[in-house]
Symmetry: C2
Subunit: 448 residues, 2 copies
């Protein structure tokens, strides 16, 4: 594949030609829509709209589906009303629902009447399901069979369904009311005797998800059972659609983003490039103000020890070092525990084992850090008492920080709260307070 | 499904019966291996070994494969030599390579001679590939066809291959030397005319990965192109195996874990529950010492301003608040930028736009935080000058921290370094230094 930087100007030239549609088709003929996306993603929305029109359905539509929703919206507004309808009719149902949710209500009401009846009904139905539910990521283009036909008849029916189904490798067996009776894989049908009935081949012990289930749970189920697709049913066990494995990766990536935002105490995820700074600031300010309030406590502790600070001003010099080191050690252990709880590697029942583990880890790293800090005090400040204070405060702070960083997420999990709320900044703020208390307690003892 | 806590003692009772194998088979007959895992994962390794022997192949082996490698090792040592060989022969090749890598060399050399020739060769070949390469996660159980047969003949061949292939939905067309010629999906073959030749149906524009490619890249390619499997070839374009979509989720989860460890400056991932505290401490200590060294700089800055601190000791009370707030604001923006770079939502070319965005976000949240901090100084310390110093230092620190937190990861990316190295603790340490410089500069101006 040629480099983007080489081909981009070439595409721009082609788009100025009178026979641009033909030239575009020739240029991209043999490429996978994903490769077309890689080549064109940085072009102007209007240019991408022209390319989609030139490529038509299905390649142009598939290419369109690779853009993020915000960029899709930008391209979409360069289409004529007819093309808007055409694009919506031909998008995959799950992608389409996502996209329409992002359009304004007026826009949706303008376009809906132009769309063919079948797709319009499908859109309206899927829009009813809650954001982030299984219903919001399902596709209605699944393959299905009745239970009373033979394997050979089934293969003929599947061939007919093949052209517009998301997958024909997993086939769902339903009755007249669309109630889910069972499941067969294409492999099962293929290796079966041609005269066998579907109801004798099908698996009735079937893994399903409910249309209102959270999409993260659905993705986890699909990947736990190593499925290619999972059927989504309503309360009456009627088949509504399927969620396919390619959507799982997107869901996991989104979940990952949310996790990382929590770790960074950055608030809820918002589309960064597309959002106004005011909106982003609103997401971030809450945690910052909570942490400022916690910072006030550190100030109060220092105020109470103003006398010691006045007497030995060098004590103050080590405060950023101590609280920073404690914060870092606590962030490390909380990171490991929060992630371990998320992957299932760590369980609450191991809390005692974890406590002793972190205690000894904290001891080991704390002693190394304490020696370093004490040496610093000895060499630069030439004060034996100060070195003793700083060194032992460092050891104590790091041990407390390491064990607190591990125990707080476990405690949150135990209280059925999200352990990820014990984010780095939050742990750091708690440890700040603890480290000051420890430091002054030791200072009072040493300098008395 | 019954609750684990109810069924667990029941299983333990059954394992004491003389006809335990039969009882175990009856109990688990209709369950998916994943559900057996959910029910039994907390049993003792020896008990799980008994269950695997009772269930036999394939269900027992599939159940075994759901355990993490460390737990598999624990179960494995309760097998007889013959059962060890049997388990290894029947595991999926990709799972098996992973597992054998974790065994000791002596153990491996003991067992290998007991394994059937074909599997032994397969194991030896796969063990050659580097850890974390495509070769380390591929399976050799793929479906393949020659190019000169018809679609109907192909279906017969596929039926014969079906029972022991990881997938028969993607089929690879190879020549006598196993060179990869093309790819057909089972769907393509099914909808083709029965007399059509495979070489006329197959797709020759095929997405492949190299056996030495990093497994993360392979997983990304597979998911970018929405494939069910991707063929892995060597330098001569010979087909070595395939990586299937179910492995992608595992790879992504591992990558996620590594990312989060970087964010928390927690070192490289090690199996937490299975590792000695010394090993975990070793992973964490490096970053901690680097951050201690950076903390020394903060101390030096304070030392240089010992005179101001002596004169207005209340200045010291606000240092933890300022550096903490700066660290938190910087962690927020670096989190958002690092994640955006990873998902492709943010590009380096947007650096100017991002700079102005963070500048205005920093301004907004900084003013709110500055007012809060100034009020605190005014109410509790009743010192107008102090309030002015603290308030304006807070605003300046937060603005600088927010923009630095965003720009440093972009700079790292630009220098082809991993932006995730600009982790929370690291940003916080840099901001610590900056906030002290800003604070004392303002203090000198105000209190002169």
């Amino acid at each position: 594949m040629r480099r983007k930087s080489i081909i981009s100007p070439e595409i721009e030239e082609i788009l100025k030609l009178p026979n641009k549609d033909e030239e575009i088709r020739n240029l991209f003929m043999d490429l996978h829509p994903r490769d077309i996306f890689t080549l064109c993603e940085d072009l102007e929305p209007q240019q991408n709209a022209q390319i989609i029109i030139a490529l038509g359905s299905p390649v142009g539509i598939e290419f369109f589906q690779y853009f993020k929703t915000r960029l899709q919206r930008g391209i979409f507004q360069h289409f004529s009303k007819e093309w808007m309808a055409k694009v919506l009719e031909n998008m995959a149902p799950d992608e389409r629902t996502d996209f329409i949710r992002a359009l304004s209500k007026e826009k949706t009401e303008q376009i809906l009447p132009l769309i063919a009846q079948a797709e319009r009904n499908d859109i309206k139905k899927l829009l009813q399901y809650k954001k982030d539910s299984a219903g919001s990521i399902l596709t209605t283009e699944y393959a299905f069979l009745p239970q009373d036909i033979t394997a050979s008849e089934a293969i003929n029916q599947i061939k007919r369904q093949a052209f517009d189904r998301e997958t024909i490798y997993y086939i769902y067996v339903i009755d007249n009311e669309r109630k889910l009776l069972g499941f067969v894989s294409l492999k099962d049908i293929l290796v079966a005797n041609g005269n066998e009935l579907i109801k004798d081949i099908m698996n009735t012990n079937i893994i399903t998800a409910h249309v209102d289930d959270d999409k993260e749970q659905v993705a986890k189920k699909l990947s736990d059972y190593d499925l290619l697709a999972i059927p989504i049913v309503d309360a009456d066990n009627k088949l509504i659609g399927i969620v396919t494995v390619d959507d799982v990766v997107d869901v996991i990536q989104q979940e990952h983003t949310e996790d990382i935002y929590k770790y960074g105490a950055a608030g809820d995820y918002v589309d960064y490039m597309g959002s106004h700074p005011r909106l982003i600031a609103k997401q971030r300010i809450m945690w910052l103000l909570v942490l400022v309030a916690m910072g006030f406590i550190s100030g109060m502790i220092m105020e109470r020890h103003a006398y010691q600070l006045q007497a030995v001003i060098a004590l103050a010099f080590f405060i950023p070092l101590l609280s920073g080191s404690g914060g870092n050690a606590g962030t490390q252990s909380s990171t490991v525990i929060i992630r371990g709880l998320a992957t299932g590697e760590i369980h609450i029942k191991d809390i005692l084992k974890i406590f002793f583990k972190e205690l000894s880890i904290g001891g080991m790293v704390g002693i190394a850090m304490g020696i370093l800090a004490a040496l610093r005090a000895l060499v630069l400040n030439k004060d034996m008492l100060l070195a003793l204070t700083v060194g032992s405060a460092m050891i104590a702070t790091v041990i407390v920080a390491t064990t607190l960083g591990a125990l707080l997420p476990l405690l949150f999990k135990k209280m059925k709260l999200d352990p990820a709320l014990m984010s780095g900044p939050f742990i750091a703020s708690i440890v700040d307070i603890v480290s000051l208390l420890v430091y002054f307690r030791i200072a009072v003892l040493v300098f008395q």
